[in-house]
C-alpha cells in the first residue's frame, strides 16, 4: 500500500476538477449537435462549417479528457494515493465530506447533498472484520494478497450526482457520475478516436457537399437514381450527438443512467446506419440494429427491475439519501476482498435457500430491513440481474445470439462503422460488463465467457469467406468483442478492457483505411474487384498493415529493445486474454474449450485479416478498369490514418508493465487480483499471479497459431501458391453455410419476425371479428329487439287501446237509434225510467 495519502479536501478538489473537465468534454458535442442539426437551414449545403464545429467540439473534448487524465495521474500518482485513513469510517467521512464541500462553496447548493465523497469500498485491505457464513474460501486468498503484485487499492472513484430525475422514498433515480481510471481512459480513447474519425469524415463525406446529390444505390420506381440535397451537416450533427451519448454512457454513475445513454447511442446508431434514408437496405438495417438492441435491452430492463426491487438503488458508489448513507451496488454485493456474503439458511417466507446478504460498508456490516433482519437478495435473482444486464451487453456488443445486426450496420457511411460500430458503441457492451463486474456471480461470468467464446468463433469463420471489405471487418469486430467478453467472463477483467482499448485503435484504423480504399475505388467494396492497390494507395495500405498485424497479434519473438518486446498493441492484449484463458483452464479443467477455441480462433483471425490485406492491396489488380481510376485519398483522410496507426501500434506499449495496463488495473474490481471463487458453482478465476505464471507459455502458443494463420493467408492470397477457389470447391456446402452467415437471419426471420407479424394480424383479427363482431352482434340484436318491441307496441298495446275505443264507439253508434229527437219519447223514457227505479227500489229494499 502506498505510504502517501490524500486528505479529503485534496480528494474533493481533484474530483471537482475532473467533474468539470469531463462535463465539458461530455456536453460540448451536445451543444455542437444542437447547432449543427440546423446547419442545413442557416448555412448552404456546400458549407463545411458544421464539420469544423463538430471537430472543434470533440477536439476540445479530447483536450479536456486528456487534461483530466493527466490531472488525475499527477495528483494521485497514477492512482497510487489513497484517501486519508479517517475517511474510511462511514459516519465520519460524511460529516467531514460535507463540511469540506460547504467550505469550498463552489458548487450549487443542490449538489451539496449529493456531493463528491470517496467511495471507500476499495480501501479495504486494512480491515478484515468480516463474518461470513458461507465464504470459507476467501481466507486462503486473503492471506496471499500481495500489494506489489497489483495496483489496487488506490485512489477511490470520484462519484456524485448531477440532478435527480425522480425520488420515491429511498429510491432515487438520477444522473450521477462515477470517475475512476477506467472512465478517464475511456474518455480519452473515445474522444481521441472520435476526433480522428471526424477529421477523416470531412474528406469521406465531402461528396455530400452539393445541392444535388445523386445516390447511385437508391432507385426510384422508374429506375432512375435518387437525387437529393447533400446532407453533410446532418452527418456531423448525428456524430456529435453520438459522441455526447457515448461519453455520457462512460461517465454514468448509476446503471439506470447507463441504460439511458445506452438507448441514446442506440438511436444515434440507428440514425447513422440509416443515414442514406433513400436506400431501403439502409433503413432496414437501421431498424434491425435498433430492434435487436432493444431485445438486448429487454434483458437489461429485467436486470434493472431486479436491482431496483431488491437493492433499492442504481448507484455504483455509496451515496447519501434522505440524510442517511446508502451503500452503492458494489458495496452491497461485494465484501472487503470481493467475496459475496451468502446466507444459506432457508428463508421460511420466500423459500429461497440461498440468499446474498447485502452489506452496508466494507467492514462487513450488513444492511437491515424494516424488521431488523438482514437485507438479502435471493442468489438466483442476483444471477438474473447479472444475466439481464449482460443481455443488454449482448445486444449492444453484437454477441451471439444477437450478432446479426452488426454486419448489416455496415450500410452506414464508413466513418460511422469506424466510430460507432467498432471502436466505441459496440465496445460499450464490454465496458458495461467490466463496469458492472462486481455484480456478476461466477455463474453469470461463465455464461459471459461461453457467449464470448461462441461469438468469437462463429464470427471469425464467417469473416473467412466474406468478400465485402467492410463486412470482413464487421465480423472481425464481432469476433474481437467476443474475445473481450470471454476475457471478462473468465476473470480477466484487465485483459478484456485492455483489449477493448487496443482494439478500438486498430479496428477504427482499419475501418478508416477501408473507407479510404472505398473512396479511392469510387465506392467499390467488393474485394474480388480490388488487388494490387498498395502501389496506388501506399499510405492507406501500410497503415492498414499496421492494423492487420496488430489485430493478428504478431510479434517478433526473442528480440526486445529497451526490455520491450517488438510487438503492436494487439499482441499484448490478446496475449493477456489467452494467458488468462490458459490459467482459467488450469483451474477449471472441464471448461477447456474456453482456452482452445480462442487460441484456434487467434489463428483464424490472423488468416482472415491477412487475407483481407493481400486480397485488397497485394498481388495484381483484378479489375483493370477500376484500378486505373484508383487514387490515394487526400491528406484530410490519411492524416487520421497515420495518427491512429501510431496508437494502434504503440498504445499498449510495455504490455503488462505499460501505462495503459497499469492505468486500467487501478479500477479493477476488488478481489480479482487474488482470484474469485464461486461459492456455489466452484468456478475459480485465476489470480494475477496465476496468469503471470503462464503468460509466456500462452504468449508462445498464441504467437505460433497467429503466425500460422498469417502464413496460410500468405500462401493462399499473397503468394498464390494454392488457389483458394480449389478449397472452396472442396468444401462447397460449408462455404455456402458460412457465406449465408450460419443462416441466423433466416432462422430469426422464421422464429421471430414472421410469428410477430402473424400474432399482430391475429390481434387485429380479434379486434375486428371478436370484439367488434360482438359489438355489432349486440347492436344487431338490439335492433331486432326494438323491431319486436315495435311490433308488440303497434299490435298488442295499441290494438288493445283501439279495441276499447272502437267498442265504445260502436256502442254509442248503436245507442244512436234511441236518440230520436222526439221530445215526447224522451219524456216517456224518463217516466218509464222513474217507474223502473221505483220498482227496483222496492224490489231491493222492501221495507
Amino acid at each position: 500500500m502506498s505510504s502517501e495519502t490524500l486528505t479529503i479536501e485534496e480528494f474533493q478538489e481533484i474530483g471537482k476538477a475532473l467533474r468539470f473537465l469531463l462535463m465539458v468534454a461530455w456536453l460540448l458535442p451536445l451543444a455542437g449537435f444542437a447547432v449543427e442539426i440546423f446547419a442545413g437551414y442557416w448555412g448552404h449545403r456546400r458549407s463545411k462549417m458544421a464539420s469544423f464545429l463538430a471537430v472543434g467540439c470533440i477536439f476540445i473534448g479530447f483536450a479536456c479528457s486528456l487534461g483530466a487524465l493527466i490531472h488525475w495521474g499527477t495528483l494521485t500518482r497514477w492512482g497510487h494515493k489513497t484517501v486519508a485513513e479517517s475517511q474510511h469510517h462511514e459516519g465520519k467521512s460524511e460529516g467531514e465530506g460535507q463540511t469540506g464541500i460547504l467550505d469550498a462553496g463552489k458548487l450549487p447548493v443542490e449538489f451539496v447533498a449529493l456531493a463528491d465523497k470517496p467511495t471507500a469500498h476499495k480501501d479495504a485491505d486494512n480491515d478484515d472484520h468480516h463474518t461470513t457464513s458461507g465464504g470459507g474460501h476467501k481466507d486462503a486468498h486473503h492471506e496471499g494478497e500481495h500489494h506489489d503484485d497489483h495496483h489496487g487499492p488506490g485512489t477511490p472513484a470520484f462519484s456524485g450526482g448531477f440532478y435527480l430525475l425522480g425520488s420515491f422514498g429511498d429510491i432515487e433515480i438520477g444522473l450521477d457520475y462515477y470517475i475512476d481510471s477506467l472512465t478517464l481512459i475511456m474518455f480519452t480513447m473515445v474522444t481521441l478516436i472520435a476526433t480522428c474519425i471526424h477529421i477523416f469524415a470531412i474528406g469521406y463525406m465531402s461528396d455530400e457537399l452539393v445541392e444535388d446529390y445523386v445516390d447511385h444505390h437508391a432507385h426510384t420506381s422508374d429506375g432512375k437514381h435518387v437525387h437529393r440535397p447533400g446532407r453533410f451537416y446532418r452527418f456531423f450533427a448525428f456524430m456529435s450527438l453520438f459522441c455526447f451519448s457515448m461519453l455520457g454512457l462512460v461517465l454514468a454513475g448509476n446503471i439506470f443512467q447507463v441504460f439511458v445513454f445506452w438507448e441514446l447511442v442506440g438511436i444515434c446508431s440507428y440514425l447513422l446506419i440509416g443515414f442514406y434514408t433513400e436506400r431501403k437496405s439502409a433503413s432496414t438495417a437501421a431498424n434491425k440494429a435498433f430492434i435487436m438492441n432493444r431485445v438486448g435491452d429487454f434483458g437489461f430492463l429485467i436486470g434493472l427491475m431486479v436491482i431496483v426491487t431488491y437493492l433499492g438503488t442504481f448507484r455504483f458508489a455509496d451515496h447519501e439519501v434522505n440524510g442517511a448513507a446508502q451503500p452503492g451496488l458494489f458495496t452491497m454485493i461485494r465484501g472487503a476482498d470481493g467475496h459475496i456474503d451468502l446466507d444459506q439458511t432457508v428463508d421460511v417466507e420466500t423459500g429461497n435457500d440461498v440468499n446474498v446478504v447485502l452489506l452496508k460498508g466494507v467492514d462487513g456490516e450488513t444492511l437491515t430491513n424494516a424488521n431488523g433482519k438482514n437485507r438479502t437478495i435471493p442468489y438466483w435473482l442476483l444471477i438474473v440481474a447479472g444475466l439481464g444486464v449482460f443481455g443488454g451487453c449482448v445486444g449492444k456488443s453484437a454477441q451471439f445470439p444477437l450478432q446479426t445486426w452488426l454486419p448489416d450496420a455496415m450500410e452506414g457511411p464508413t466513418p460511422v462503422s469506424a466510430l460507432v460500430h467498432s471502436a466505441t458503441m459496440v465496445a460499450a457492451g464490454v465496458y458495461l460488463a467490466g463496469r458492472f463486474f462486481p455484480m456478476f456471480t461466477t455463474e453469470v461470468l461463465l455464461t459471459i465467457a461461453y457467449i464470448g467464446c461462441i461469438t468469437l468463433f462463429v464470427a471469425a469463420t464467417i469473416a473467412v469467406v466474406a468478400t465485402d471489405i467492410k463486412r470482413v471487418l464487421a465480423y472481425s469486430t464481432i469476433s474481437q468483442l467476443g474475445y473481450m467478453m470471454l476475457a471478462i467472463g473468465i476473470g480477466g477483467w484487465g485483459a478484456g478492457l485492455f483489449h477493448l482499448v487496443t482494439h478500438a485503435f486498430f479496428k477504427s484504423l482499419m475501418f478508416l483505411a477501408s473507407g479510404s480504399v472505398i473512396i479511392g475505388c469510387h465506392h467499390e467494396q467488393e474485394m474480388p474487384r480490388m488487388g494490387g492497390l498498395w502501389r496506388k494507395m501506399p499510405i492507406t495500405a501500410f497503415t492498414m498493415l499496421v492494423g492487420v498485424i496488430a489485430i493478428s497479434g504478431l510479434a517478433i519473438p526473442g528480440i526486445s529493445i529497451f526490455g520491450e518486446k517488438i510487438a503492436f498493441s494487439g499482441y499484448h492484449s490478446k496475449d493477456e486474454i489467452v494467458a488468462t484463458a490458459l490459467a482459467f483452464m488450469q483451474m477449471n479443467e472441464q471448461h477447456f474449450l474456453l482456452f482452445l477455441v480462442p487460441l484456434i480462433t487467434a489463428g483464424i483471425t490472423a488468416f482472415y485479416m491477412f487475407r483481407l490485406w493481400f486480397y485488397t492491396f497485394a498481388g495484381e489488380p483484378r479489375d483493370a478498369e477500376l484500378h486505373s481510376h484508383v487514387h490515394e485519398t487526400p491528406w484530410v483522410m490519411t492524416t487520421p490514418l497515420i495518427i491512429l496507426a501510431v496508437f494502434a501500434a504503440g498504445c499498449a506499449i510495455g504490455g503488462t508493465h505499460g501505462p495503459l495496463w497499469l492505468g486500467l488495473l487501478n479500477s479493477e474490481p476488488i478481489g480479482l487480483a487474488t482470484g474469485l471463487t464461486g461459492q456455489l458453482s466452484g468456478i475459480a478465476t485465476p489470480s494475477h499471479d496465476a496468469v503471470h505464471a503462464v503468460h509466456s507459455t500462452a504468449g508462445m502458443y498464441a504467437l505460433i497459431v497467429a503466425a500460422t494463420g498469417a502464413f496460410v493467408a500468405y500462401l493462399l492470397y499473397g503468394a498464390g501458391v494454392i488457389d483458394p477457389g480449389d478449397i472452396k470447391q472442396q468444401f462447397v456446402s460449408l462455404h455456402t453455410f458460412l457465406v449465408e452467415k450460419w443462416r441466423f437471419d433466416e432462422l430469426y426471420d422464421a422464429m421471430f419476425v414472421r410469428p410477430v407479424h402473424i400474432v399482430a394480424s391475429w390481434c387485429v383479427g380479434v379486434d375486428r371479428y371478436v370484439f367488434d363482431g360482438l359489438i355489432h352482434r349486440t347492436a344487431r340484436t338490439t335492433i331486432d329487439v326494438s323491431r319486436w318491441d315495435r311490433k308488440f307496441d303497434e299490435g298488442i298495446i295499441d290494438g288493445l287501446v283501439n279495441l276499447v275505443g272502437n267498442a265504445v264507439f260502436s256502442a254509442g253508434r248503436s245507442l244512436r237509434v234511441v236518440q230520436t229527437g222526439s221530445l215526447r219519447q224522451y219524456i216517456m223514457f224518463i217516466a218509464v225510467g222513474v217507474l223502473v227505479l221505483f220498482v227496483l227500489l222496492f224490489a231491493v229494499f222492501p221495507s
Binding site: 245507442l815 244512436r816 234511441v818 236518440q819 230520436t820 229527437g821 222526439s822 221530445l823 215526447r824 219524456i827 216517456m828 217516466a831
Partner: protein, 104 residues
C-alpha cells in the same frame, strides 16, 4: 174529519197530479200542452213539499222550496213560451214531433 187526512192522502194527490202531468207531456204533441203537463208535474211536487212541511220535521223549508218551485215554474214557462214562439217561427207549427234536430 180533517184529522183523518194523513200525509199519505196528500202524497196520493201529489202523485195523481204528477202522473197526470207526465201523461199530458207524453201524449200532447202541442208544445203548449206539454208545458201544461210540466206545470202539473211541478205542482204535484209542490204538494208533496207542502205535505212534508206539515207532517215531517222539514218545517218551513218545504214551503220555501215550493215557493222557489213556483217562481222557477214561472220563469220556465216564460222561457218555454219563448222557445215555442221561436219553434213556431221555424216550423210554422208547434207540433213537437216535427222538431227532431236533437236526433243523434
Amino acid at each position: 174529519m180533517f184529522s183523518d187526512i194523513q200525509l199519505t192522502n196528500y202524497l196520493l194527490v201529489g202523485a195523481f197530479l204528477f202522473v197526470c202531468g207526465v201523461v199530458c207531456m207524453t201524449t200532447k204533441r202541442n208544445g203548449i200542452g206539454i208545458l201544461m203537463g210540466v206545470e202539473l208535474v211541478l205542482n204535484g211536487a209542490n204538494i208533496n213539499f207542502i205535505a212534508f212541511s206539515r207532517y215531517t220535521p222539514l218545517g218551513l223549508d218545504g214551503q220555501i222550496f215550493s215557493l222557489f218551485v213556483i217562481v222557477l215554474a214561472a220563469a220556465e214557462a216564460a222561457v218555454a213560451l219563448a222557445i215555442a214562439l221561436n219553434f213556431y217561427n221555424n216550423h210554422l207549427s208547434i207540433d213537437v214531433d216535427r222538431g227532431d234536430e236533437l236526433q243523434g
